[in-house]
């Protein structure tokens, strides 16, 4: 399972390194979300500082949808899914590999967005620890849920519209918990970051990783 997942993740990341679609198209869109929210919220410094954490996670969410769509679009044309299945790869390994590749892409985007939030929104980082842990746990959860729904929507003609519809309500807890944890870490919210928010993010990631490992085979069969 682990070897298969490393192979699949390597394949996806190699495609990304050669095509640079996520870096050259998804990342600018994510940064654009920061700009648009600044336009919507007004140029007032106090407002942008308070909104920084929430805008960051909403931008990450949109980037996740795009990254997931990209991750399954590259497999559509050449029949890669059938190829992976015929190659006898473990479905759980395929799931973990694709999720890992998406998570790696998201981490790059998040670093970019975090810099943007500090630079454009004037947020101050109070404590780095919860910031990084919440970011990592949230990323794993988003990548796991995104891979699951990406595989579900992959073969469908309506996938572009169906994927956000199915995925966004399910990952709403990541936005809530990630925002609260980051607000605590940026010093703009009440309460602590670790309990319950980082714990919730870790639970979310664990739940979706295990659902994916258990059910991904069923989804691969179905298309």
């Amino acid at each position: 399972m682990w070897r298969d997942s490393a192979l699949v993740a390597g394949k996806d990341l190699r495609i990304e390194l050669r095509s640079r679609v996520v870096l050259h198209q998804v990342a600018p869109v994510a940064v654009l979300v920061l700009l648009l929210f600044a336009f919507a919220l007004g140029p007032d410094r106090a407002t942008t500082v308070r909104a920084a954490a929430g805008v960051f996670w909403v931008a990450v969410l949109f980037a996740t949808v795009l990254a997931v769509q990209r991750s399954f679009a590259v497999e559509a044309s050449e029949g890669t899914r059938d190829g992976l299945r015929l190659a006898g790869l473990d479905p759980a390994g395929v799931f973990l590999g694709k999720a890992a590749a998406i998570a790696a892409e998201l981490v790059v985007l998040e670093v970019l967005l975090a810099v943007g939030v500090v630079w454009l929104y004037g947020a101050h980082v109070r404590s780095v620890g919860p910031l990084v842990v919440a970011g990592a746990a949230g990323t794993v959860g988003l990548a796991a849920a995104g891979t699951l729904y990406g595989a579900l929507a992959a073969g469908l003609r309506v996938r572009e519209t169906l994927l956000p519809f199915l995925l966004l309500p399910v990952v709403a807890p990541v936005v809530v918990a990630g925002t609260r944890a980051w607000q605590a870490a940026l010093g703009t919210g009440a309460g602590g970051a670790w309990d319950p928010w980082v714990v919730l993010l870790i639970v979310f990631a664990a739940v979706y990783l295990s659902i994916g490992v258990l059910l991904f085979g069923q989804l691969q069969e179905s298309s």
């Binding site: 849920a145 699951l148 729904y149 579900l152 469908l156 003609r157 309506v158 169906l162 519809f165 199915l166 309500p169 399910v170 709403a172 807890p173 809530v176 918990a177 609260r180 009440a190 309460g191 319950p196 928010w197 919730l200 639970v203 979310f204 739940v207 979706y208 659902i211 059910l215 069923q218 989804l219 069969e221 179905s222 298309s223």
Partner: protein, 281 residues
């Protein structure tokens, strides 16, 4: 599914006959099932009428809320069906479908029926709650934990139905939908906790405390209990009817496919080279 065999060169005639033909062998419901569903319907109607009568005329108005309190006989029962019964039925039947030993179309039909009926109840929960909230809290909507998670649940149910409408063969569709239902079921507790902490860490007590005061009048308690029974019976009845609709629509679909297939087959047999030449000239 209805692709013509490749040897056909002429366009097939429109399948008019297939529609007008009497549907032979409509899957009948057993006599006992019919009676059970009828009894369920009668019980649902009677208990609902009794709840309406007790709720509107017999029970006294509340000291603080006045006549508004009469929504208590309607709103909590509907919410219980929407959030627990319908959603729970959908999750359990999806799980039973995915489990290889219990896999049968029955569970898929139960799942889709409970999701659809549950969607109606979820909308009703939000509407009745909103109607109740406007005069008591002064606003149509508050970002309360329960309201927010109910709204998210509604979006997930709508997503399930959108996925359901995507054309696919029945097995694939059932598999996809079962996975979505299970994922949503796993998500709902997480949503609930996250939104709960999201609110309670910021605001003090929940505004919904007025729902069920611990001291409740005797007649009111009985009416509320009856309301729970009535709405639950209504749900079961609607579920049975929706299940029946699913069976019938599957039958119609299968009948159309069969008719189209046999038509093509008949055409293929009828087309011999001489006739084909005669027709084309």
């Amino acid at each position: 599914m209805t692709t013509a065999p490749p040897r056909l060169t002429e366009p097939p005639s429109p399948p008019q006959r297939a529609r007008s033909e009497p549907a032979a062998g409509v899957p009948g419901r057993g006599r006992r099932t019919t009676w059970i569903v009828r009894a369920l319907g009668t019980a649902a109607v009677v208990t609902t009428a009794a709840t309406v009568w007790l709720g509107l005329w017999v029970t006294p108005p509340d000291q603080t809320q006045g006549d508004l309190v009469r929504l208590v006989y309607l709103h909590p029962p509907i919410a219980w069906v929407a959030l627990y019964l319908a959603f729970g039925t959908a999750a359990v039947s999806s799980l039973l479908w995915l489990w290889p030993r219990t896999r049968s179309p029955f569970w898929d039909r139960v799942a889709v029926a409970s999701v659809e009926v549950g969607t109606v109840y979820t909308v009703l929960t939000l509407v009745t709650g909103s109607v109740w909230g406007r005069p008591t809290w002064g606003v149509w909507w508050v970002w309360d934990a329960r309201l927010t998670s109910t709204a998210l649940l509604l979006v997930m149910l709508l997503g399930y139905m959108a996925l359901r409408r995507v054309p696919a063969d029945p097995d694939t569709r059932a598999r996809r939908c079962a996975v979505v239902a299970l994922v949503a079921a796993a998500d709902v507790p997480i949503v609930h906790f996250s939104v709960n902490w999201w609110r309670t860490l910021h605001q003090s007590a929940s505004v919904l405390n007025a729902d069920l005061s611990p001291t409740i009048h005797g007649a009111m308690a009985w009416t509320l209990l009856l309301g729970f029974g009535a709405v639950t019976l209504l749900f079961a009845w609607m579920l049975a009817i929706r299940y029946r609709i699913e069976v019938l629509s599957e039958h119609v679909r299968q009948g159309e496919i069969d008719a189209a297939l046999s038509e093509r087959r008949a055409e293929g047999e009828a087309v011999d080279p001489d006739r084909d030449r005669g027709r084309s000239s």
